[in-house]
């Protein structure tokens, strides 16, 4: 077992970029994506309050169900997809290895 996971970000042109994250840092996916240079505002700093780290999960492992706070925020956003999640609520852990996602536009 390594202490890294890989997630794949689908870019606007359909290409997928591999992003490697450490599992032993207590990071969440928003922090990993931000640290990898993706343009995410994450105004609230990871409290499921602002909705600016909205992603769409396209494939990979099945994640734990979103919690109440995340549900409430997702439901209030103007655009929601089948795989919509707030990346700040997803922990970088073995369970997400292989996740495929794309960023939703800010404010949606």
């Amino acid at each position: 077992m390594t202490d890294e996971v890989r997630v794949y970000v689908e870019e606007a042109d359909g290409q997928r970029t591999e992003v490697v994250g450490p599992t032993d840092m207590g990071l969440n996916l928003m922090e990993l994506l931000k640290a990898s240079g993706y343009d995410i505002q994450a105004t609230c700093g990871g409290m499921a309050l602002c909705g600016t780290c909205h992603i769409e999960v396209l494939g990979g492992p099945t994640l734990d169900e979103p919690g109440d706070d995340e549900m409430a925020m997702l439901e209030s956003l103007p655009v929601l997809r089948e795989g919509s999640r707030l990346s700040c609520q997803i922990r970088i852990a073995d369970a997400i290895d292989g996740l495929i996602l794309r960023l939703m536009p800010q404010d949606s």
Binding site: T43, C44, C50, A72, E75, S76, L77, D107
Partner: protein
Amino acid sequence: MNSISTDICIIGAGPVGLFAVFEAGLLKLRCHVVDALPQVGGQLSEIYPKKPIYDIPGFPDILAGDLVSNLMRQIEPFHPTFTLGERVEGYEKQDDGSFIVTTVDGTQIHCKAIAIAGGLGSFEPRKPAIESLETFEGGKGVHYMVRDPEAFRDQRLVIAGGGDSALDWTIFLADVAKEVTLVHRGTTFRGAADSAEKVKSLHEAGRARLVLSSNVTHVHGNGKLNAVTITANDGSTESLEVDSFIPLFGLTPKLGPIGEWGLEIEDNAVKVNTVDYSSSVPGIFAIGDINTYPGKLKLILCGFHEAALMCQGAFKYINPDKKYVLKYTTVNGVPTL
């Protein structure tokens, strides 16, 4: 009009803004604190008063609400004054280097320095991407919040959204308005099951209309809104005559008016010099979550540190000729103002 005079006007009554009162007090500087929320404590009081915080030095754990109460006790000797429930709008710099800060309700605070401790900023409504929506803002039929439900009496309303506020206002306004239609892009209301059940029963009773799997996609009118187009996820459309359209897609923290203050902004935050947390405008400082600098960490404890250094900078700005000697509370205790 309410007019106040002080040394430092602190914008934001969160933990960092409150602690700045203490640090300023040690330097015999008086503070006036303004916050858009009706109570002190910022996010700690508004969002998570019962949540324990584990990274305040000296407190293995402390409830957010208790931290706010402790801070209020700590700054009491310095008799800070407060304007709560009013959002700061603008400022004017005077010839003598002082400032007049103005709130949305017209309160004026004359101060010698400004410390912005605005945290996440102010919570503003999220606006859906609908063409020309903004042309109907400002009393012409599009409202992003319900301030006075009576304003909608006997109107034909379309509400859009799937969160608590969309559901709750649909329920409330069903009794006030002539017609209420709630448009939701999905089929489920994941955040608020009880309210969703109520709206469904209103729909069945014919007292409100619920349109699922649809979005409001166009707004129409000549100077004043008179109709909206609702497009279903299958592509079919419906035009509905309305008096008001109320999109309720939650609130999102924005920098707000401070973003227009001419300060250097980066990443939606005020860029500061870490020597004294001064902004690009002399006399205006920014501390806590609202500022940014290389290595910035959004932690309460970092905000406390920033508050201490900011007060040194503010003291020098206010008293350019005085040579300041740091006072240690261990030697003299806490002075009073």
